[in-house]
Structure formats: structure tokens, C-alpha cells
């Protein structure tokens, strides 16, 4: 196994990712609704059926509340474009954008030794 990824990742080390919270009280049938899943340009969301031990071997009806749960596992790719918030019919998604640290160039031309 090579020790480093061969691709330099598009993220910068130490970058903070957006925090996406989904209110599962409001979002109850994500597999039927699927609006955020289809609108997200970066495919951040993921819908998963519940994994409780006793329901593991059962078929899940997507119409029943809570059988499928929406998650946002790929938040590293979230651009906070807010399209999912606009499209959500029940207002279950909130996104907290990471703080942007401003960057300043320190020199004022003197580095060229004029």
C-alpha cells in the first residue's frame, strides 16, 4: 500500500466542513420525497433504512414514518448553495457554514527588491 494518496485532495488540511443537521421529526419519509437527494449538485445526502437488529431482515415500506432516514455523510463536498433547504417541503435541513479565515498578502512589493 502506498503511504500517501496519489491525488492531492481538493480540500486543504485543516479546512472546516459545513455542519448539516436534519430534523428527523420533520423529515419522516425521505425515500418517497427524495427532493434534496435529487437536487444536490455534490450528492451530499444519503438515505438509509433503519438498521435495528429486529428489523434487519424485513422489507421496509418507504411510506411509513421513520423506516428510512436521511443523512448527510458527504458534507466535505457541501458548498452551502442552500438548494436543498429551498426544495425541502418540511424545512428539515439546516446548514451551518464554516467560518472563512480571510487571507492577506503581507508584502507590499518590497519582496522584489526595487
Amino acid at each position: 500500500m502506498t503511504t500517501m494518496p496519489t491525488k492531492i485532495p481538493e480540500f486543504i488540511w485543516g479546512r472546516k466542513f459545513p455542519k448539516i443537521t436534519i430534523d428527523h421529526e420533520k423529515c419522516t419519509v425521505p425515500f418517497l420525497c427524495k427532493k434534496c437527494l435529487q437536487v444536490c449538485p455534490e450528492v451530499v445526502f444519503h438515505v438509509e433504512r433503519v438498521m435495528q437488529r429486529e428489523k434487519r431482515l424485513e422489507e421496509m415500506d418507504p411510506r411509513i414514518d421513520g423506516n428510512f432516514v436521511l443523512q448527510a455523510p458527504r458534507r466535505d463536498k457541501c458548498t452551502v448553495c442552500n438548494q436543498c433547504i429551498e426544495v425541502c417541503p418540511v424545512g428539515a435541513i439546516t446548514i451551518e457554514a464554516p467560518e472563512q479565515v480571510p487571507f492577506r498578502i503581507k508584502g507590499k512589493g518590497e519582496q522584489w527588491g526595487q
Binding site: M1, F31, V43, M51
Partner: protein, 280 residues
């Protein structure tokens, strides 16, 4: 040589390539459990996908904490768990399908997860399962919704070529190395295995091949640029020909099979020293 070939290849079968070793398709997927014992990872949280051990979330946390050493440690553990698999070009895929049995077409779990696409019949299926695990599909009605369509070798090859034409690349999936249990048809960003490999460098290994362009044959039509799932091949405006970054190339062969003029060919990874051991 990739570490899967080193550990699971057999020189007598397929020249030591691990996925051409028929024994890797024969191992029983399901281990016997003591009575009353649940499956491993049953109590793991939703976000882990019922796998025990570190996840992509842990990798993200390491990036946020600017902890390169922790990132590499987690990657190492994830590779050692023997999940993931390897990208296989179409010509090798045909040889793979001659080795395993039974072969079943099934619904894709990744597309179900990320886009809530419910594939319910054999015309919609975009995933292929193989080996003894397929015979137990009835146990998981939610996973194998619509059932499994068992196919013979010729049907499987034909279906695989069809998927290649549509622009999916082929990834052999390990279900606990060395057991090969699936043949995913993947694209970015829907496929989780492919996405983990491209975004985080974990899981799926690059194939034993690399794509190279014959610039004399190429007429610059740009079809290959539409087919690359890895961000490796781009259309170079200056030369009006494709340009392949061999460090990013996963050797899936989609550009090769899509090229109408046969200008792209696959070469062995060993032939290019700087990337010959670049598997992730």
C-alpha cells in the same frame, strides 16, 4: 505487484492475478456463528453502514483537525480490513465472469442510497452479484427488492458490455478479502466505492492497467473525456487531443472502449515505473 495479488494470487491460475484465481470466488461468504450471536456490527450506528471500524467520517474529522498522521492511520486500518476491491477493465471482466458462479443481476445499493432510485426489475438493475451469497438473496427482502435475475456467462458478458457502453466502469467488490462477491457498475459521484477512492484514497485499488493515447490515430472527438469517471482524462485545448494524468488514471478502460478510432490503448501498470506501485 498489488498487495491483493501478492496475498491472494496463484501463479498457476491467471498468472498470479488475484481476481483470476478461482479459489477467491469459492470461499463461503457466511461464517458459522455461535447460536444466539448476532451479526458483527449490528449495534453500529447508522452512519457506519453497519461496518465496525473507522469510517469516512473519521477521515473527515482528521482533515478538519489537520491531523495527517491520524488520516494515514485510519486509511491503513480501512485497507487492512479487506473491504474495497479493484477496478477491472472490460477485457479482464470477461475472464472474471467465466470463473464465478452463480451470477445474478441485482439492484444497486449506492444509487438507492444517494439518489433514492428504486430499481425493481431486471431491466433496471445496475449491479451484479456473484458467488454463493447470491443464493441467499431471499433472506434480505429489502436489499434484494424485486429479486435477483440469475444469468449465464454469455448473458452476464453481454450485460457487462452494455453497461460499459452506457459509461459505467467495473469494480470487483471484496466482501472480506479474498472473497469476491460483487461486480459493481460505477460512476462518480453516485458509487460510494468509487467516490471513496477518488475523494479519500481508500478502498478500491486501481487496475493493473493504464490508458495511453496514440495521438496519430486520435482525431480529437472528445468522447473519451465524457467517459472518464476519475478526473484523469481531460480535453487539452492546446493540442485539441485528450490528456491523461497517469497518477489519477484508474485503468478502467472506459476511454479505450469508447474511442471510435481505437486511439487509446491499455498498457500494463508495471511498464510505467513511477506509477507501477500506485494502487490508491
Amino acid at each position: 505487484m498489488c498487495y491483493l495479488c501478492e496475498q491472494f494470487g496463484n501463479p498457476e491460475y491467471g498468472g498470479g492475478t488475484w481476481y483470476l484465481n478461482p479459489f477467491n470466488y469459492a470461499r463461503n461468504m457466511y461464517k458459522l456463528r455461535a447460536p444466539g450471536e448476532g451479526f458483527k456490527g449490528a449495534d453500529a450506528g447508522l452512519e457506519t453502514g453497519a461496518h465496525s471500524g473507522p469510517t469516512i467520517m473519521d477521515l473527515m474529522n482528521a482533515i478538519e483537525c489537520n491531523d495527517v498522521a491520524e488520516y494515514q492511520r485510519i486509511r491503513q486500518i480501512m485497507q487492512e480490513q479487506g473491504q474495497g476491491g479493484q477496478v477491472v477493465p472490460l477485457a479482464d471482466a470477461d475472464r472474471v465472469l467465466e470463473l464465478c458462479s452463480p451470477i445474478g443481476l441485482i439492484a444497486c445499493l449506492c444509487r438507492k442510497g444517494v439518489r433514492a432510485i428504486d430499481e425493481r426489475n431486471e431491466l433496471e438493475y445496475t449491479c451484479m452479484g456473484m458467488g454463493v451469497g447470491m443464493l441467499k438473496w431471499e433472506r434480505w427482502p429489502e436489499r434484494y427488492k424485486g429479486g435477483t435475475k440469475f444469468v449465464n456467462i454469455d448473458e452476464a458478458k453481454e450485460w457487462n458490455h452494455e453497461m460499459d457502453k452506457r459509461g459505467f466502469c467495473h469494480i470487483l467488490m471484496l466482501f472480506g478479502a479474498p472473497f469476491i462477491g460483487g461486480f459493481c457498475q460505477c460512476d462518480y459521484p453516485d458509487c460510494q466505492a468509487l467516490r471513496n477512492a477518488v475523494d479519500f484514497g481508500v478502498g478500491t485499488l486501481k487496475s493493473h492497467y493504464l490508458a495511453v493515447v496514440d495521438y496519430d490515430k486520435c482525431n480529437g472527438c472528445g468522447i473519451c473525456a465524457q467517459r472518464c469517471q476519475w478526473g484523469a482524462l481531460k480535453y487539452e485545448v492546446t493540442s485539441e487531443k485528450p490528456n491523461i494524468d497517469l497518477f489519477k488514471c484508474f485503468g478502467c478502460g472506459l476511454c479505450e472502449t469508447g474511442c471510435p478510432r481505437g486511439a487509446i490503448s491499455l498498457i500494463r501498470r508495471e511498464a510505467v515505473p513511477a506509477v507501477s506501485e500506485v494502487w490508491l
